[in-house]
Amino acid sequence: MSRQRLILGVALALLALGPLVLPEFYITLLNYIGLYALVALGLVLLTGVGGLTSFGQAAFVGLGAYATAALTTATALPAWLAPLANPWGGLLAGLLLTALVALLLGLLTLRLSGHYLPLGTIAWGISLYFLFGNLEFLGGHTGISGIPPLRFGGFELRDGRHFYYLIWVVLLAAVWLTSNLLDSRAGRAIRALKGGALMAEAMGIDTGRAKMVIFLIAALFACLSGWLYAHLQRFVNPTPFGLHIGIEYLFMAVIGGAAHVWGALLGAAVITVLKQWLQDLLPQLFGATGNFEVIGFGLLMIFMLHRAREGLWPWLTRWFPASARRPASAEFAAEPLPARAVPPAGTPLLEVKDAVKQFGGLVANDRMSLGVASGEILALIGPNGAGKSTLFNLITGVDPPTSGEVRFLGERVDGRSSRAIARMGMSRTFQHVRLLPGMSVLENVALGAHLRGRHGVPAAMLHLERAEEGRLLAEAARQCARVGLGEHLHDAAGSLPLGKQRIVEIARALAADPCLLLLDEPAAGLRFLEKRSLAELLRQLRAGGMGILLVEHDMEFVMDLADRVVVMEFGKKIAAGLPREVQSDPAVIEAYLGGVD
């Protein structure tokens, strides 16, 4: 048993014994910590992992609470709603309503980049709050009282000590589901959101869908917390669902450590206890009553953000380093994933015809044409700024060409999304390395195999996809070993030298099992021996039937390796042919060597 498991076991045992020994006050406090942590957990997923900020989670808590409150206390319900007039019906209705509202708000606001999303959440957070307070049938600002207690068979949960177990079982289950999710194919896709949509989409990840999924999960956790709250308090009014409380939930996630599931619990505990303490202390200090705890609360929050921007959890875990044993690459023994059928050597894979790309008045690509066949390495060279990366973007679907066409495997692909093109078997690396620096090399590479798995979020949350996950990781480990990263499987990708990070990019592209590989300056920053083994790898891939389009500056590397070379300058093709021919072309020499006289 590892040390972490031991700590977890002891903590759970203490938690289970709590109600038997603790006085009422602490039970109430722990109940609230549990309810808050459930909402904060959703925010860990949404904000900490996915990078989407919401100030409006309190409104979802309100939806959960009001749905069950209204249904269980209504006196004259229409007949079709009557079966829902109990706590379980309330839960169902609350979850459905929340999912619906979240789906709608998500459709409206998730497309917004950066800071618009949090501002949008402030807006609907406030709107829903005022709505709760102004709708007649929700009791206005007085709220709804007389909510029935929860009942399991004949047992009524009236006592806080009993409710305690329900809250904590629900919370721990939610923590388990969330950790499972994060440790899976679907979870990697979610974690890739923060690395930028461009890379994720190039790996075939539907980033819009991934955002919606975490937004829904966070909203449903909040709704569940609201339902529990309504039946614990047996009374609801709008106050706990206002914007200020929404802000507090976000504080909990950030203070606890927004990127860690246990951070939600820690944050909820710290903030709840802190508020309680300040509420008792400050009025004595100022000699007056009032909402003074917010002063200390705000200042402490600022202080913590100045000192520990990543939150308290990472700081705490430094004292308890993980001791998990990490498997070496040879130990990933799983049935290999099915591979793509290799087209016979010489089959045309990529054909670019008269592609033009204009940005305003600037012509970045001017009637560029080239083709790559299977079992061939085509090198695209040219000075910096010649338009090579623009052409890469046209081919991979990042940007549509202004005119001209791109065919892949005989089909027109210009105008298709990079996700659709990736699915057809084209894979790429980026000139500016786009890895998730905090994630291990193995997981970064496994992202490349995203399209080779199929299990979704529900299976991942319940860990029903372990067999497939094992095969994906085995494939990633195999590709790592192939490019010579076998020793670095569990190192954070960001801790490798830049040259090695480029190699991780290649392994990630290979994990997609492509038939056409696009490499953007793979040899930049590599040392002599590393370059030699990279060239060897590319030769092997070519021998295996893969087509490779290579942008590179290192002439020696290119001339030894490429079958054919295309030279670009100012967006135009100025030469094409065998390496030897291109090297002696006067136009190429002029473009490359330039000179001032």
């Binding site: 409206l108 618009y116 501002l119 802000i247 003074f292 100045h306």
Partner: protein, 344 residues
């Protein structure tokens, strides 16, 4: 509703809209230069108005003590570095952060501002509240100036909470109004226009023109614009992030405090009034996409009008209507602006 009422509501809407427009401009400015979404903008509104109320009542406003404390804190933190950089630096720092607050405090306590003419009282309220802007930038935002927009936003929210709490401590829970700058009223085509409305609209217009001239003509105004357009480029010209930040917060504090002073005769101001007022400025700013000043101002006017008309038709849902306005605007923006992946 007849024309009379419509005109009255329209007047109300334009007056409030003018204030929201000022706040929207300040918010856009702060965001463009520092990437801070300045939630505490509203607190400056309340602080400005309530400081004036305190002065007129013959009390020393709590904001005065706040300025003294923050000044001492800034002096303590920046003192050692200024000491190393030479005597002039140190003298400047101590003059701004210790001597200035002390002189103002002496003025408030010794020169009985209660009996001053109202415009001098306004000026005194401003010289107390406005320095809080750069002081807060130095203490709260400068240490995290390079952090993400999200961290800056959360810092803003935390600062907002602290300032609201301090507002309660300084000014109590009671709301206050100040006497109007002008008791005059005019009959225009059957509509009574109050002198105070004209004050608000006139002062707002003047301030907007002044800001325009500042940004178009002066070197420091251009430097702020340059920072907003290209932070890295501006730093290479020697325009430091810190300088730009302090200057921006000075402007934002001045705009906020002045807005509060202008509406104090029309609306009862509580210690926490600023938040909702500021948020409505926000709606205007968001309409402007946090980038375009004229669109933000127009959006804020729209918010003012929408608010005043919806308070007539559906007063309970006034806030819901105003804040829901953001959503269609955001949707429209998300449909018209193409998401561009940021390149390093």
């Amino acid at each position: 509703m007849d024309l009379q009422i419509a005109l009255l509501l329209g007047q109300d809407g334009v007056v409030n809209g003018a204030i929201y427009a000022l706040l929207a401009l300040a918010l856009v400015l702060v965001f463009a230069v520092t990437r801070v979404i300045f939630i505490p903008q509203g607190e400056f509104v309340a602080y400005g108005a309530l400081t004036l109320v305190s002065l007129q009542a013959g009390h020393a406003p709590g904001t005065l003590w706040l300025m003294l404390v923050l000044g001492a804190a800034v002096a303590a933190i920046d003192g050692p570095a200024a000491w190393r950089q030479g005597r002039r630096r140190l003298a400047g720092l101590l003059g701004r952060q210790l001597l200035y607050p002390f002189v103002i405090a002496a003025l408030v306590l010794g020169a009985a501002p209660r009996d001053w003419p109202v415009l001098l009282q306004v000026a005194l309220a401003l010289v107390i509240v406005v320095p809080l802007g750069p002081q807060l930038y130095r203490l709260i935002y400068q240490p995290v100036a390079e952090a993400s927009v999200l961290v800056l936003l959360i810092v803003s929210v935390a600062l907002h909470l602290a300032l609201v709490g301090l507002g309660l401590l300084f000014f109590g829970a009671e709301g206050s109004r100040t006497p109007a700058f002008s008791e005059a009223s005019f009959e225009v085509g059957g509509l009574t226009v109050s002198g105070q409305s004209l004050w608000v609209i006139g002062a707002s217009a003047l301030l907007i023109v002044a800001l325009y001239v500042f940004f178009e003509k002066s070197l420091y105004g251009k430097a702020l614009r340059a920072t907003a357009i290209n932070r890295a480029g501006a730093r290479l010209m020697g325009i430091s992030t810190t300088l730009a930040g302090k200057l921006t917060f000075l402007l934002a504090a001045a705009i906020g405090a002045l807005s509060g002073i202008l509406i104090a005769p029309i609306t009862t101001i509580y210690y926490d009034t600023g938040f909702l007022v500021g948020l409505k400025g926000f709606v205007g700013a968001i309409v402007g996409g946090l980038a375009s000043y004229p669109v933000a101002a127009a959006g804020a006017l729209l918010v003012g009008l929408l608010e005043s008309f919806s308070s007539f038709w559906a007063s309970a849902f006034k806030e819901v209507i105003v804040f829901t306005l953001i959503i269609p605007v955001l949707v429209w923006r998300s449909l018209t602006t193409r998401y561009v992946e940021e390149e390093e």
